[in-house]
Amino acid sequence: MTRLSVWTVRTALLYLGLGFLLGALMLLQKGLPLDPGLLRLLPLHVEFVLLGWTLQLAMGIAFWILPRFSQEPRYGSLRLGWSAYLLLNVGVLCAGTGQWLGISPAVFLLGRLAELLACLCFVLHAWPRVKPTGG
């Protein structure tokens, strides 16, 4: 497993842990009302689980498992891969907290833009690696 995959998969696992925590807090609130504000965690929960966990895990596994090149750089452009990792996490944090806290819509927009750029970097990284094995 490459260092990029280790960072991406471990970050995805962290988001999964946070996603479970936020989900548990909201479910607790439904069963044992403590603070109605807990239900406002929903957009953060969805952002963490769908993009922070599921999408990021898929990216991390793809960085690791897609066919490599026979010559260096064997894993393709790692710069694009790291850019995708950084942009995705900036995006998830901005979009998630922006929706949760209801702060300036610009933060949410910035988050979505960063996520879009992350996906673009990921596609550019992965595209040439989707090929027959070897070569």
């Binding site: 497993m1 490459t2 260092r3 995959s5 280790v6 998969v9 471990r10 696992l13 999964l16 842990g17 479970f20 925590l21 989900g23 548990a24 807090l25 479910l27 607790l28 439904k30 069963g31 044992l32 689980v49 599921t54 895990l57």
Partner: protein, 139 residues
Amino acid sequence: MPRLTRYFIKTALLYLALALVLGLLLAARAAFDLPAEFAAFSPVFFHVLMVGWAAQLIFGMLFWMLPKYSKEQPRGNEPLAWSAYILINVGLVLRIIGEPMNTVQAEWNLGWLLVVSAVLQLIGGWAFILTAWSRVKER
């Protein structure tokens, strides 16, 4: 394929079928003007799909395919991973039963089912993360 992976994946497939049935019920409610209580299944539908199907399928595949922890313990802490499987599934079943009933029959005071479900799923999820974490490593 390790036994726990088979359990995770086959259980995930069962949840996929259940999720599609729930999705059908929710769509039927809108189409045939069925009682509003059916809407209580909406959060259950999403969680059967995302926890029961997607997360468990991923957990099964990760348990199988992540780099080996060591020669002696290739899958890492297996009892912890089994605990994750049991806790997540017991927790999810409690939610499937408890959430619609708590909404439709609030006077039955079944909120405790949701509290237990939340705690079990949280511990189960974190248990799986702990087992996977040590296997996510550079060669």
